[in-house]
Symmetry: C2
Subunit: 327 residues, 2 copies
């Protein structure tokens, strides 16, 4: 892995310049209720308020804006369970690029519909029997379009890091330096990018990722020292973060920068969604709620600490949301 | 009414100083989807993200912080369907003041529970047969505590105006000056206070209020030129804004500064709640959604215009929220 060209903090700064004016500078909100309950200072970075309703716009726009004129003409293809799909589709439209998105048939309806609404061509597949990588590779070969990975990419990782860059600057308005920075983890693009900003600007801040129970490939990879896979591709309500395994770039960055990875159950994620609805007035999807769920359910001792929790997206169907409200 | 001492823009600026560090500077969010659909530039001021989940904290904290030391010792009494209740209860706790809150029995459970959680003593009454003003006056006489009105008050009005002060400054980050500024209207405290900031900083901006159909006391008052009352005290899902009639201060300010008042149905408010959930990822309560509902349902020609819509609160029970999602 020594030959990998990994992004660094300067690349996050460059990404911030690139996406400025297109991305939303999402608010960093203090959680009074939770801070009081846990004798801590808890903040959320509300990426559910990002363009397309998820942080994924940051990386996708950064990636697509670096394409050559020739590549832009040929268009892009991406595969995604839904949030990267929307990020790529919306970025492609802003940049005048054609986009094909390969999505699982069982993606949340809202994510499928939004991706179509942003003007992308959507091709669905069966998560249990088909390989999205193969479908995308075939489309790329046939049409000559560029594959835009969902996380294992220099510019995608750098782009996602802008969420932490903003949060750290916004924390200054509260007179706060974070002791702990937490995000949900799927393939690790968000936490890898964020870790570049956190370690550069606030080296003593500990970084934790959170995965769904039974889909803790990153937790096991960091424990064993090599890339480990999840035994199954689906089966959690946290559809946005059910990646099979990390890839060399995200694995390497996470190995260097993370203090640990925690897990939560689907039930805990649903309770966190309800908490965000009730106390934060934010709509957060299951996979985007896992870091909040970990804190709400005492998976980390946070007493006296200053903590930033990324709520990474809010694209959720009525049915699932009502399930959370009835939890 | 010539003897009324009305607040002015300077009082809004003083209120902003008073509440700084306690209130949330809520985000001004651009609504891409709606802007595109209506060929306009639509922003929301997300007061559902305010402390206590509604703008009411602004006025309540400003009012309570002006009490004399003697008054603070004697405590306060307020009546409210729920958001002012929470605003007064939370402000009283921050300032070390005892608070009694008189609330209708049929207030949303969340509002009742939160008010108790902030440490206030809650006394319930029957909206159909009892007068909250009389109950509060009796408590005030018995205990010597100060009555804190929900809108007809110099400092309350000035405090609510800080929402517009912030929004106008935040709009500069988007390079925007609003053509239209809209808020929900109950007793008129929010829109009166906001109008002081809007007319001082942006005199060409038109100001519109929105009421529930059948509870359009302000609309009729401004049309007839005198204070008119609603025929009934309850019967709309928009519980937060079912005030019986405006009072001299808010009536006078609204008469001077408003371009008009629109109305929406309960069904339209519920659809706007669902829209806010789906596209804005914000939890908004029915009464707080009426200005958004008016725009979504074409009650005002907004083509080519730059519009600020205040989403004034997000305290809503599961049952009502699920009703909105099933709309």
């Amino acid at each position: 892995m020594h030959s990998l060209k990994l992004p660094d903090f300067e690349d996050v700064l460059r990404a911030a310049n690139k996406i400025a004016g297109y991305s939303v500078k999402t608010p960093l909100l203090k959680c009074d209720d939770l801070s009081e309950k846990l004798s801590a200072e808890i903040f959320v970075k509300a990426e559910c308020l990002q363009r397309v309703g998820a942080f994924k716009f940051r990386g996708a726009y950064n990636r697509l804006s670096r394409l050559s004129d020739d590549e832009k003409k040929r268009g892009v293809v991406a595969y995604s369970s839904g949030n990267h799909a929307q990020g790529v589709a919306a970025s492609a439209r802003l940049l005048g690029i054609d986009a094909v998105i390969v999505m699982p048939k069982d993606s949340p309806k809202m994510k499928l519909q939004n991706t179509i609404n942003y003007g992308a061509e959507v091709i669905t597949y069966d998560r249990a029997t088909e390989s999205r990588e193969e479908i995308a590779a075939k489309i790329s070969a046939e049409r000559g379009c560029v594959v835009v990975p969902s996380f294992e990419d220099f510019y995608i990782i750098a782009g996602q890091g802008t969420a932490a860059l903003e949060a750290i600057h916004q924390a200054k308005d509260y007179g706060t330096v974070f002791d702990i920075f937490m995000t949900p983890v799927g393939g690790g693009g968000l936490i890898s990018g964020c870790s570049l900003a956190v370690k550069a600007l606030s080296p003593n801040t500990e970084i934790y990722g959170v995965e769904p129970e039974g889909f803790n490939d990153v937790q096991r990879s960091l424990q064993s020292g090599k890339i480990e896979s999840n035994p199954k591709p689906s089966g959690s309500i946290c559809d946005a973060i059910l990646t099979v395994h990390p890839e060399p770039m995200t694995y390497t960055i996470m190995s260097r920068n993370l203090s640990g990875v925690l897990t939560v159950t689907d039930e805990e994620a649903l309770k966190a969604m309800k908490y965000a609805w009730e106390k934060l007035k934010l709509v957060v999807e299951p996979g985007a709620c896992v870091a909040l769920a970990a804190i709400l359910h005492g998976k980390l001792d946070v007493k006296g600490k200053k903590i930033c929790i990324v709520l990474s997206g809010g694209n959720v169907d009525e049915e699932t949301f009502i399930k959370a409200l009835n939890t």
